[in-house]
Structures are given as C-alpha cells and as structure tokens.
C-alpha cells in the first residue's frame, strides 16, 4: 500500500485523480493507494440521493451564498458534507482475488478508523445497519466518521470522512447520510482539545497498515 498525503484538494480534482488511479490500479500499473486529504467546503450526493435532494436542507441559493458547491458523485450512500478539519481518505484498493466482499471491505474500513481514534483515547464503535463509526451511549450515538464507497471490478474508490476538527455547524446544511435522528461529532469535540491533522493522518496510516 502506498500512501499519498495530498493536503487540501478541490473535490472535482480529487474525483479526477481517483478516476485515473482506479484505471491504473485495474491495469496493475500501481500498487494499492491510500489518498489522504482535506476538501474545501462541499456537499456531495451519493448514489442513494441521486435525483433526490430532500436531504440537502439549505436552498441552492443559500448554498451558493455560503460558497458551498454541490456534487453528484458515484459513491454509495446519501448526502454528506466535506470541509476543512475533516480527514478524507480514498483507498484505491484492488480487492481481487481474495477480498471480494463489499461488506467485509466496509467493516475493515470501520475497523481501521475505530483503531485509529482509539489511539487518541476515543472509544468509537459500529451501529448495526448504519455504516460509519459512532461514539456515545447506545441509542444516542453521534457520527464520527462517514463511509461511502464505489467499486468497479473490485477496485475501490471514495472511502471515509473522519471529523477531526470539522466545523460541525456546517452539517446543518444537510441531513448527514440521510439519517435524520442522529447527530455528528468530531475528535476535537470528543477530546475537548484541538488536534494536529498530521498526527491523525499518521495514526490512520498505521491503523490501515494493520487492518489491510
């Protein structure tokens, strides 16, 4: 697995880069890649939300005024928000020949993230039926990281968005992942202190190396 730390990248540019890398991965020209980056403010619609914007609460005008563009993407899942302070990870992994199982892949992503945040003393877990990683007491969990994946011939793209020190008020523009009754949280909120993004990246890379 090769890791690319890209810093802040526009959503559209990251989409292009992923597309190119997926092609190269399919041809066996490159190894498995883990892209780590941040996006400027953006709201993205997954496949589930295609053609249905009811989970985007803000009006198009309000979004434009806030300077938040809207993107239709090919990943799985509903609506999400990306922005500064959020660590976005796009694994471009070839799951062939022995990892061809989408559930297992998603569970493995969750496992890596759970381990990564555990290194900072945050106890996160899964909520059955709701992909992502969550913290808090049962029934009142808030979402720490979102997951949305695309697979083409068992090569993965898109991935996860881990709230490190995200401005959580930005999620007010949407219903995250189409789940109306659950909130979002960040590592900074959980710990009551700010974190260095590079430090979180290091931990995530270590956790990915362990799990994948």
């Amino acid at each position: 697995m090769e890791v690319r730390r890209l810093g802040r990248v526009d959503y559209a540019d990251a989409l292009e880069l992923q597309k190119a890398l997926v092609d190269q991965r399919k041809q066996g020209l490159i190894l498995d890649q883990l892209l780590l980056l941040e996006h400027p403010d953006v709201i993205t619609l997954g496949v589930t939300a295609r053609g249905d914007r009811s989970h985007v609460l803000a009006t198009p005008e309000a979004l434009e005024a806030a300077g938040v563009p809207l993107f239709d993407t090919g990943r799985g899942g509903d609506v999400t928000y990306h922005g500064p302070g959020q660590l976005v990870g796009y694994p471009i992994f070839d799951l062939k020949p022995d990892r061809c199982d989408v559930h297992r892949y998603v569970r493995d992503l969750e496992e890596a993230l759970i381990r990564a945040v555990a290194a900072f003393g945050i106890r996160a877990g899964r909520v059955t039926g709701l992909t992502g990683i969550w913290v808090g007491p049962e029934g009142r969990e808030t979402k720490l990281a979102a997951i949305g994946v695309r697979i083409s011939r068992w090569v993965t793209s898109h991935g996860f968005a881990l709230n490190v020190s995200t401005d959580l008020s930005r999620f007010g523009l949407i219903v995250p992942c189409g789940i109306a009754d659950r909130g979002v949280t960040s590592m900074a909120e959980q710990l009551g202190r700010d974190l260095r993004m590079a430090e979180v990246e290091d931990t995530v890379i270590a956790a990915f190396s362990d799990v994948f």
Partner: protein, 418 residues
C-alpha cells in the same frame, strides 16, 4: 443467442442488491466487460460489467428495485437482434462457457458470480472471517488457519489465537511444511541483494506457474527452410516500406500461422471442464519482450487481415507495448500466441502456454545453415519452429499435422498472399 445478466453476489453475507442506475438502455450495443449497470448495497456502489457482447434487449429490473442475488436482471441478445423476442434454444457450440445442461446460465456471469461466491466449509469460513492481519501472520508462518480453534465471533481466528498457536507450535510441533521441497532462497550471511518483484513480474510468475500446473505441455520442433521466404521478403520489402509498413519475418510467419490455425481449429481452442471450446475468432497474441518482463498484445481477428494489415498491426502493437501505451483490452482475449525465443540467437525455445489457450508457437533464430537440396548441399536461411501444446486436447499426431502444414505454408509461401 441471448445471454442472461444476473445480479452478482458481492459478498458472502449479501443476499440481494439494488439497481441504482442502468448505464445502458434497451437497444444499446454493449461490449463484453463494458459497464452495464450500477448496484448499491451497504453504502457501496458497484459498477457491473456486461457478461457478453450484443444488444441490450430486455431490462427486467428497474432502477431502484431490489432483487435477490442471481436473479436475472436483463437480457443481452446477439447484435442486430430485436428487443424481447422468444429465443431458439441455444446451440452448445455457440455457448462455449455455459455449463452443460444449464442453457439458462449466462456464460460470463457465471464467471462474475464465481468471483464473488465462496466455498462454505467451516475451514473456509474461518479463513475468510479472519482479519487480513491474521491471514498475513498465517501466511508468514505458513500456517493453515483451519487448524486453529478460533475464539472470535463465529469461530473467527483472532490475532491472539494465532499468536498463541504459533507460540505453542514452536514448542511442540513444526508448522506444516508447504508441498514440495522448500529450499531457502539464501542462507543467513550470504551476500545478496533483495529486490521486491514489480507487479508485472508477479503477474508473469503467477501466470506461468498456473500454466505449468494447468496444462501438460508437450513440444514438437520442425526445421523450416526460409530460402523462398527470404527471397520474397527481399523482393517485396521496398514496396511495403513505401506503404509505411515493415515487412518483417514476424509478419510473414504470423500470416502463415493464422492460416494454419484456421485449418486446424484445435489449436484455437480452450478447455472448459469436460468441454472443448472452439474459438470462432482468431485473436493472435505476439509476445513482446520489454526491458523488464514481457507483454503479449493481441491482434483481433487476425485471420481477416492481409499481410500488410498484419505487418502494420504487429509494428504498432509492439511499439506501443514498449512505450507502455497499450490499452488493457489489447492484451486480452488472445486465442493463439506466437513468441520469438530466437531473438537473441536461440535455435528454438520451449515456451509455456498462455492460458487459457492450448498452444503456443515458438520461433527460433533465422540463420544460414547447410541444407540438402536435391542431394546437394546448399546454404539456405533456416528457422526452427516449435509448438508447445496442451496434451489434454492435442495429441502428438495433431501437432505434427499442424506443424507440417505450417512448414509447408512457410516454405512455399504464395506470392499472391503478399
């Protein structure tokens, strides 16, 4: 002939899938492996390639609908076919990959599904359920995970279990040795340099090992007199150059080979279980040596090209193989391969078959040798051609007939073919 497209199984615990988008519409032409539709399950969206080529004649499952795995979601008809008509019973010869007695099964979908379907013995379940870390430890220590009693969820072997097993095994027993004699690649203290294999090297290693395991290889070698061929080549070289093509021996040999392959269909076949699959298209692979590794670009429908077309295609593919500008589909789908072990002077080579093909032609060095012509000694350029073939399908006599025919075609190369 119609091909049913089924909902693929994307994981062992996945029983159904939702179609979120049809990339193709009814009446659209589709190529095999071209993205056909997208499915969604558990926050994962997957693009599903078409199992065959033809026209999308029927969509049985609409966008947004969820159906069980293996349900038929669409039908692909032969090119030019009208949507949704009743199909005549498919002939076996036209359904090379379908399982016998299951004319309904869509050929390549079987492959798609097979990719996702898992064996289900307890050992297999344990192996699948163990984490990548555990599997890696198991591989490093050469341990069969099935031997370990897992204490994790549903018998899953945890890291703790496997480390415990290694600890105990170290004291009481040795790990199961791999089959065959394992000689260490180097001894401690030996002066070595360790370089990880490139991806291409790894792929070649996998393919070659698989080929050696799959096909019982047998070889026949013939000497061919190139006297006439070299004279024809000298005579026509200039004309071809003016047409922008290099009249190489490879092109001449390719032309004669394609004609011979067409005359002997068993050389253009594959084995599928107990069935022999005769390929109607002759897609000729030409092995190209690179600085590191090799590639086998494929000339599709090589039998439909004349010598000029073949010469151009060979030059183009070889050049693009060396500059790494081939598209993935240009190295796939070959049905017969020519390789050139003579390039550095080998008299002949004994190449391994490029699976799932059943034969490969090796071309040795072309050099002047003393030959007997009408009971006199003459000096002619000659070449040794070798055929590596899969004895499951091709017997020595068959290979002999094919090579004799190829020799005849090369020695008496018809000027009208040029």
């Amino acid at each position: 002939m119609a091909t049913n497209v089924v909902m693929p199984q994307m994981g062992e615990s996945i029983a159904e899938g939702t179609i979120v988008r049809w990339i193709k519409k009814i009446g659209d032409n589709v190529d095999r492996d071209e993205p056909l539709f997208e499915i969604s399950t558990d926050k994962v969206d997957a693009e599903i390639p078409s199992p065959g080529a033809g026209v999308l004649t029927e969509i049985k499952v609409k966008e947004g609908e969820t159906v069980p795995v293996n349900s038929v979601v669409a039908v692909i008809g032969a090119a030019g076919e009208k949507p949704a008509v009743s199909e005549p019973a498919p002939k076996p010869s036209e359904m090379p990959e379908a399982a016998a007695g299951q004319p309904e099964a869509a050929p390549a979908v079987a492959a798609v599904v097979a990719e996702a379907r898992r064996p289900e013995s307890m050992d297999d379940l344990r192996r699948q359920k163990s984490s990548p870390l555990v599997r890696r430890i198991a591989a490093e220590h050469n341990i069969d995970i099935g031997q370990i009693n897992g204490t994790g969820i549903s018998g899953r072997v945890t890291k703790h279990d496997i480390l415990g097993f290694i600890d105990t095994a170290g004291k009481t027993a040795r790990p199961t040795p791999a089959p065959g004699v394992q000689v260490p690649a180097f001894k401690p203290g030996e002066r070595v340099e360790i370089v990880p294999m490139t991806i291409m090297r790894k792929k070649i290693a996998e393919h070659m090992l698989a080929s050696a395991h799959t096909s019982p290889h047998v070889y026949s070698v013939y000497e061919v007199d190139f006297h006439r061929l070299s004279q024809l080549r000298d005579k026509k070289k200039g004309e071809y150059e003016r047409n922008g093509a290099k009249l190489s021996y490879t092109a001449l040999i390719a032309k004669a080979t394609v004609d011979a392959v067409r005359a002997f269909p068993f050389t253009n076949a594959s084995i599928d279980g107990d069935n022999i699959v005769y390929k109607k298209d002759i897609n000729l692979g030409i092995a190209v040596a690179l600085d590191q590794g090799l590639l086998v670009p494929v000339i599709r429908n090589a039998d439909e090209k004349n010598l000029l077309g073949l010469a151009r295609a060979i030059e183009d593919l070889a050049a693009r193989a060396r500059t790494k500008k081939l598209n993935p589909e240009e190295v796939q789908g070959g049905t017969f391969t020519i390789t050139n072990p003579g390039i550095f002077g080998a008299v002949y080579g004994l190449p391994l078959i490029n699976q799932p093909q059943v034969a490969i032609l090796g071309v040795g060095v072309i050099e002047k040798r003393a030959v007997v012509v009408n009971d006199a000694i003459a000096i002619h350029p000659t070449c040794h051609i070798s055929l590596g073939y899969d004895h499951r399908l091709i017997d020595g006599a068959d290979a002999g007939r094919f090579l004799a025919s190829l020799k005849e075609r090369l020695e008496n190369f018809d000027e009208s073919w040029m």
